[in-house]
């Protein structure tokens, strides 16, 4: 009983510190005159930040960038979800791959691979097009707002798809059938019935992608900054990381608008998804929705889907492998293949900073995910099983960080850590990571706890097992799948983490994604590709090893 009463307040304090502290520091920092000097109230930072002549253009860029990528991602997701759930398209397993695998490719590498493909001077696709059609200049310039929207939209496609596809397959088909009976064609039914009924899911997808792209830093830094197209995230980065004096106060002042927009949108999102549950009718009749025959369109549409999966998964990885082997960025040719060597690989493996960042990222991934999952177990337990007012507070606190744009929260943490001995240590990154990515651990564990009915524990007690034995024999084995997926999600997120790290990492605490960003800024594409492939290999290894260990653990518990 004592443990229970102490657990909730302790967790509220801990999670509250992790999520509220950076926000408070951000507010305090934005009203203070200097990095280290608090106490004097001033609005000078706001005046400086919001009278910047480039600000209006930056805000317009942000608006177009976020809305554009949201619309692109949602339209593509709708198209794919409809084809998957409602038509007789062949080879549907491709949809599973499209919706999951791009999450495993770090965003910064995805952005970099598109620079390699479509940059105006030596982009591989541009070169090929010029040779093929005899063009004078490159047909597509990735360093543009439309280039940014294209890449960000493709990056956020999986999120939009995972929101829309379940709503589409849970759709009550009789709504459509009655429209058909009323004399409407397939297309008319789609426009007049299906899409309007799915509106909450569609809006939710648009909003979530807007929030994600507002927080995105990979695309604005790798694609936007070389083209001098600044959005909120890269604007804040410019204030703290370039120029002579980093002005964290001013960055905080700009960050306040990003934070306010983000929290507002997430509230709207939660409102919409809550209302959406009443709106989208879920049929419990247990038969599959009627499949629409595509007839002659079957193979052309399949070709489109196949091309999309090629563009989303195969092309980026292939480009990185290819670039890591060629001496400089060049279109594939006999000459390019004859010049291939391991030069970039040996340079990366001999570069002390790259090796350090490799080591740091692995440590952060392993330690951070382990600590994060441990914290998540307790948080999820309180949220699901204790269910007091305190548990409600804890839940809101946990999911607050879901709306935080990484770079803004990084500035908040920076303002905090500079006052502690943690400044410039891996601990600073570790704490920041866990704070920002806590929902990724809590979500799978909450659903694991929901599945453990209290009767399962109680019947073990009645069968003669004391509480600790019940925990070991019943509760933990049932939690292992949730712990494993939480660990995998957190570990892969931490190994590739960029937005928080660009603010928090100092000399000595470089991490992989930051080192890759440095290579991109210096135009060292070969080394970038080599290090990037190492990063993908590490992430995939972590996923495989964790799943194997998880399966072993579950089996051991059954036997033991």
């Amino acid at each position: 009983m004592l443990q229970k009463t102490l657990l909730t307040p302790t967790l509220i304090f801990l999670v509250g510190f992790l999520t509220v502290c950076p926000v408070v520091m951000l507010v305090v920092g934005s009203f203070s005159p200097g990095f280290g000097t608090f106490g004097q109230f001033t609005v000078a930072k706001y005046v400086a930040a919001y009278t910047d002549p480039g600000l209006a253009a930056m805000f317009w860029n942000t608006l177009f960038f976020t809305l554009g990528s949201a619309i692109l991602a949602t339209v593509l997701a709708l198209f794919l979800a409809y084809l998957n759930t409602r038509t007789n398209l062949p080879w549907k397993f491709l949809f599973g791959i499209i919706s999951i695998v791009p999450m495993m490719i770090p965003h910064i590498l995805f952005a970099a691979s598109w620079v390699l493909l479509l940059n105006p001077s030596n982009g591989i696709l541009n070169r090929l097009a010029m040779e093929l059609f005899g063009l004078e200049s490159a047909p597509f310039n990735i360093y543009s707002l439309s280039g940014m929207i294209l890449v960000e939209g493709l990056l956020d496609l999986p999120i939009a798809y995972l929101l829309i596809a379940p709503a589409m397959s849970a759709f009550d088909v009789s709504l459509e059938e009655s429209s058909r009976v009323c004399g409407a064609s397939n297309l008319r039914t789609l426009v007049r019935v299906t899409l309007p009924v799915l509106r909450p899911a569609i809006l939710a997808a648009v909003i979530l992608v807007v929030v994600r792209s507002l927080a995105s830093f990979a695309v604005p830094s790798v694609i936007g900054m070389p083209g001098r197209i600044y959005v909120l995230a890269s604007h804040i980065y410019r204030i703290v990381a370039t120029g002579f004096a980093a002005d964290y106060g001013q960055a905080a002042a700009v960050g306040m608008s990003a934070l306010a927009a983000s929290i507002g949108l997430i509230c709207l999102y939660r409102y919409l998804t809550a209302a959406g549950e009443q709106f989208v009718t879920i049929s419990s009749r247990g038969f599959k929705p009627a499949v629409i025959s595509l007839k002659n369109w079957r193979y052309p549409l399949f070709a489109v889907v196949a091309a999309l999966s090629l563009v989303l998964i195969v092309l980026p990885v292939l480009v990185l492998v290819y670039t890591s082997l060629t001496p400089y960025v060049m279109a594939p040719s006999a000459r390019a293949f004859s010049l291939m060597s391991w030069r970039h690989w040996s340079q990366v493996l001999a570069d002390p900073v790259s090796l350090l960042s490799l080591k740091n990222s692995i440590i952060l991934g392993l330690a951070g995910a382990t600590l994060g999952v441990m914290l998540s177990v307790f948080v999820a337990y309180v949220i699901v099983k204790v269910r007091t007012i305190g548990a409600g507070i804890l839940e809101s606190l946990t999911f607050l960080s879901f709306s935080f744009p990484g770079i803004v929260i990084g500035v908040g943490f920076m303002l905090f850590f500079v006052r502690t001995p943690l400044y410039g240590t891996l601990w600073a990154l570790l704490i920041g990571y866990i704070a920002t990515y806590l929902p990724y651990g809590v979500k799978p564990l909450s659903s694991a706890f929901i599945q453990i009915h209290s009767h399962l524990e109680e019947s073990s007690r009645v069968c003669g097992a004391p509480p600790f034995r019940t925990l070991r024999r019943i509760v933990i084995p049932l939690l292992i799948p949730g712990m494993v997926s939480g660990w995998i999600l957190m570990a892969t997120m931490f190994v590739r983490e960029l937005t928080l790290s660009v603010v928090l990492s100092r000399p000595g605490t470089e991490v992989l994604a930051v080192q890759i960003l440095r290579f991109a800024e210096d135009g060292l594409w070969g080394r970038l590709s080599a290090l990037g492939i190492i990063m993908i290999v590490i992430s995939s290894t972590l996923v495989v090893v964790a799943s194997v260990i998880g399966r072993k653990l579950t089996r051991m518990q059954i036997v033991g």
Partner: protein, 362 residues
Amino acid sequence: MDIRIRSVTKDFRSEGKRIRALDEVDLTIPANQIFTLLGPSGCGKTTLLRCIVGLETPDAGEIAIGSEIVWSRAKNIYLPPEQRGLGMVFQTYAIWPHMNVFDNVAYPLQNRKVSQEEIRSRVAKVLEFVQLEGFEKRPATDLSGGQQQRVALARALVAEPKVILFDEPLSNLDAKLREATRKELRRFLTELKITAVYVTHDRVEALTLSDQIAVMRAGRIIEIGDPKKIYFNPDHRFVADFIGRANLIPGRVRALDEARAVIASAVGEIVACNRQQLAVGAETMVCVRPEFIKIVATGAAPVRNAFRAKVESLVFVGEAYEGEIRIGKTLLTMTVEPTVRINEGDEIVVSFQPDHCFLLTP
């Protein structure tokens, strides 16, 4: 082993309000009987069961199982559930999904440090008893509802407890399976000579399974008795109403002898059983169940408790007609055999069998 419950009280707090789940419950559950706690949802029957097994702690009182006190506020005794040595079947069955049938059933023995060999033979024996031989290796997730129920029963029985507790174990089965399992359970339990405490809100389940029934309402036990007493001759109006359909006719005692009481009511004078030994002139309530109102054939010999009635409505419900009749201004329901030929609007003569007219304390 018998179970003795003395002045057990338990409050729940919900949204700032105190709800009394158990109100000074005194109860002795005799050994080697099937004892049912019956009542509507929220009457405290499950809370009482959970207090016996130790998953819930009362606020006051004392609970003893056999000679051992397992809970006492005054003596500050609390024996945790794992040390009470009971068996329990949960409403959800609580079959652990990460284990197969064998591991689920063997679990109580593993906790009691029984040798591997003995575990194997005892699990095999109990699985045979519940007719699940050969299911040892089956994953728990591959079982049907009825099979899960039997695995739960096997797990509760395997350690040969002196007391087994059931928390609405049939409510998750469909109607057909529920009927079959009910009979099976009755057979298992009578074969075993074990004290069984059974919680249900289903009156048919209670009547078919039990040796004794305790009817509960609002945290109190209202009446205890064997199924026939509870059905045919309850003392309380609530019990009469809850256990079956009942026509309740208010009246006043006019005359008495050893076995019979004559009641003056709006229907007329009714001869009823006199078990309560009421005084002449006392207010009372006559209860007669629909199946004990019979049609008197025209020209038949005169019977007691015969009344003229008008058929108001007649609904065919399968095995019988359900009729609504009016005697004077009083509406009553009766069961009419499907072979009897009457129509709505007919004037008939009905009789109440005196042995099945009983008096209730209002």
